[in-house]
């Protein structure tokens, strides 16, 4: 079964270890500007929210791509950009309803989360488990359990 990233903003401290791990994995450099996962802070840090691609089943980016540069990795379910095929037209960045695929002017290609081939480094390094990698069909399990406890306590 595929797995998926699950994000719990209440646990995020905004340390940006995930952004560094992401850029190191993909670019070999510590550089949040090259990260495919971003942390957004609100109200002086009251909330810090990690956000990245959820790997839609019928991915808008994949369907919009005119050159079929975005394909499904069958082992992980990730929608991956093949940089050798991508022509940098940016149509996918318009098609994505969530903004999680972005153009990189350095390379002239787009970049998005590829789940690191099944070992997502953001989840690996997150010190508070704000980002975890769990069974794709049960991403709501922990939240459901917490709700169950609340409903019956």
């Amino acid at each position: 079964m595929h797995k998926a990233l699950v994000i719990d903003p209440d646990k995020c401290t905004s340390c940006l270890q995930c952004e560094m791990a992401c850029s190191f994995e993909h670019e070999g450099v510590f550089n949040p500007a090259k990260s495919r996962i971003k942390i957004f802070e609100f109200e002086h840090g009251k909330r810090s929210i990690p956000y990245t691609c959820t790997q839609c089943a019928e991915a808008w980016c994949m369907h919009a791509c005119p050159v079929e540069a975005i394909t499904v990795n069958l082992s992980t379910g990730a929608k991956e950009v093949n940089p050798d095929v991508c022509v940098g037209c940016k149509v996918c960045t318009i098609a994505c309803p969530f903004g999680t695929v972005n153009y990189e002017s350095d390379s002239g290609k787009v970049a998005k989360c590829d789940l690191c081939g099944g070992d997502p480094q953001c989840a690996e390094v997150c010190p508070t488990d704000a980002i975890t990698y769990v069974e794709a069909d049960w991403t709501g399990y922990d939240k459901m359990r917490d709700s169950a406890v609340r409903a019956h306590s």
Binding site: C15, E27, G28, F30, A33, G45, V125, P127
Partner: protein, 608 residues
């Protein structure tokens, strides 16, 4: 390459911006951040110039590990000559600004001269501009950051700026970055203001690369992360923040209260870490969450909010939002030392410190000094503009925090700092300072090693430049504490030069810092080599101070701590044994009886 090997130099007088290669010979002797900035300061200015004059040099420095995955890698230091002390000032900060400066491609930013008109510096990787600041001069730190992000249409930029306090030369004005992190102590913000520099706005997308052996570095980092994750001290910092210390100090009898007249505060349990987590009578809980600086897996920072019905903000919706909450030093300085047990008032005063850019420690201890002067009749209601400046009055705290921040009325006097204020009103003995800088939240009589650390700290009284805490809690005497004081000073000078935070010492020894440097930086970095860099830095700071005109006579404590026995607590009856500790310390340092490093010591450290 961990170091970017590049420095940005800005001559504000001439409006010239130049880039130059980092002096790698110096980097190999001083690592980076605090140490390397000290070396550059030493080489670039005359220590005798007035701190507020154009001849002073202001340096923002990152370390080789800043902006890497090493935990707590967000640190940068601001090094300059301090206006509070006339000694070297070295304040470091977390948040995200330091890493961004590094990501823009620079190890260090050197600011010289004085701009003819208010300006800010905009750095976008290699594009650097000095721009007019007329639209933000006179603005708060918070509004300045908002304006810069909106004006440049860049929500991802990071900003370090000064408030109105810094513009007006409040002696302990600080540099605030990311809204509520600060290079807090020693008035580095006043120096920035004296140069007509309002803010530094940075966007960096170059990143930091480890060339030496990325895999080895990641292995070490994984291990050091795990050490922190498993450590009980780290867990306490994450859950309670630094304010857990208030409970310990209250119990031990080292919590400065009423301008250091007492060491235990009856309202302690109303302002401590647990009080922050407990609902008040209307159900409001002060603490919202904890927050990390860049790269930090500890996350000791507090995010709090004030009860909307509290007198401080009931009619001021602009303060109904969350922001940085109390840490131990703010809780002591805006709480016990002024006799304040109102957690919302202290939190609000903390907001004002960040919004206006002031060091809460120096502000709080100066206010406590003013309160004692008021109660003695040396300061009157006429002086204060009608404010009842009595210990325990939360309105006096918040009114004075605001007036000092905006440099109005009696706030201008509070902005002088304790030393100058106490002299002005005829009682210099009431200033709780070393070299003109206010004490942190530990009484020297109860913590003798801390006292020696305060005395010998090169930036004036400071709790962060040594660590004799374990020894002090074990034993209220003075014997055997000079050595751990000296050794920890050297270690911390080295740690402060890496780009990492000293709170990691909850889990890491100096060897753990050394192996992270060794994995990231060219050359062989043993623990001994790293320690020697720290000792070299300490001695160079001392040399700067001696050249600036400080002498052995400045290595002392206020009469109160040397003569008045501590009234309660574990160390009841103690005075500080400075006369017994200082000669031993000088000897351990390889300094003469006059407190001057001997030629042999200088030679050994390559400082001849």
């Amino acid at each position: 390459m961990s170091w970017q090997r590049k420095i940005l130099r800005v001559d504000l007088t001439k409006g010239e911006i130049t880039q130059e290669p980092l002096n790698m010979e110096w980097a190999n002797e001083y690592i980076g951040e605090r140490g390397l900035a000290t070396k550059y300061l030493w080489e670039n200015m005359d220590p005798t110039v007035d701190a507020m004059s154009p001849g002073n040099v202001l340096i923002f420095a990152t370390g080789p590990l800043t902006g890497t995955m090493a935990s707590t890698s967000g640190r940068y230091a601001v090094v300059t000559k301090g206006p509070l002390t006339g000694a070297i000032a070295c304040s470091n900060s977390g948040g995200k600004f330091g890493a961004e400066l590094k990501f823009a491609g620079y190890d260090m930013l050197i600011l010289e001269g004085k701009s003819p008109a208010p300006v800010y510096l905009h750095i976008n990787n290699g594009e650097v501009e000095i721009r007019p600041a007329d639209q933000i001069w006179g603005s708060t730190v918070w509004n300045t950051e908002e304006w810069l992000k909106s004006h440049h249409q860049d929500p991802q930029m990071k900003v370090a700026s000064i408030g109105i306090a810094g513009e007006n030369g409040v002696r302990y004005a600080c540099v605030v970055n990311d809204l509520h992190r600060a290079a807090g102590r020693s008035g580095v913000g006043a120096v920035m203001g004296s140069k007509n520099l309002k803010a530094i706005a940075v966007r960096g997308t170059v990143g930091v690369k480890i060339d030496k052996d990325p895999k080895a570095f990641m292995d070490v980092v994984k291990d050091t992360h795990q050490m922190l994750a498993d450590n009980a001290g780290r867990k306490g910092l994450t859950k309670y923040g630094t304010n857990a210390m208030l409970t310990s100090m209250q119990k031990f009898g080292g919590l400065p209260t009423h301008n250091f007249q007492e060491v235990q505060f009856e309202g302690a349990d109303k302002i401590d870490a647990r009080a922050m987590m407990k609902p008040n009578d209307s159900g409001h809980v002060n603490l919202i969450t904890n927050k990390a600086c860049f790269g930090c897996t500890i996350a000791c920072g507090r995010i709090a909010h004030i009860d909307k019905d509290h007198f401080t903000i009931v009619n001021r919706k602009e303060y109904w939002h969350a922001s940085g909450g109390l840490e131990y030093e703010t809780a002591f300085a805006l709480g016990s030392v002024c006799g304040i047990d109102d957690i919302d008032a202290a939190t609000f005063a903390g907001y004002l410190m960040n919004e206006h850019g002031m060091d809460p420690i120096s502000f709080g201890v100066t206010l406590a000094c003013a309160m004692e002067l008021y109660e003695k009749g040396a300061i009157t209601k006429e002086d204060t503009g009608g404010v009842e400046l009595k210990f325990g009055n939360p309105e006096a705290l918040t009114i004075m925090a605001e007036k000092t921040g905006t440099y109005e009325g009696f706030g201008q006097d509070i902005g002088l700092g304790s030393k100058r204020l106490a002299e002005k009103y005829g009682h210099p003995e009431l200033a709780m300072v070393v070299k003109g800088q206010e004490f942190a939240g530990y009484d020297s009589r109860a913590l003798q090693g801390m006292g020696l650390g305060y005395v010998t700290s090169n930036r004036g009284a400071c709790h962060l430049k040594h660590d004799v805490f374990a020894e002090d809690m074990e034993d209220t005497g003075h014997t055997g504490k000079a050595k751990p004081c000296k050794d920890s000073q050297d270690n911390i000078a080295a740690i402060d030069s890496t780009g990492l935070c000293i709170f990691t010492t909850a889990a890491w020894g100096l060897g753990d810092f050394a192996r992270q440097i060794n994995a990231a930086c060219e050359g062989d970095w043993s623990e001994d080599r790293v320690r020697e860099c720290g000792e070299r830095t300490w001695n160079l700071e001392r040399q700067f101070n001696l050249k600036a005109g400080l002498t052995k006579a400045d290595d002392t404590l206020p009469k109160r701590l040397l003569e008045d026995p501590v009234p309660t607590g574990t160390a009841k009856g103690n005075v500080h044994a400075l006369d017994k500790m200082l000669p031993e310390y000088y000897e351990l340092r390889g300094w003469g009886d006059d407190g001057v490093p001997t030629p042999d010591t200088l030679k050994r450290l390559g400082l001849s």
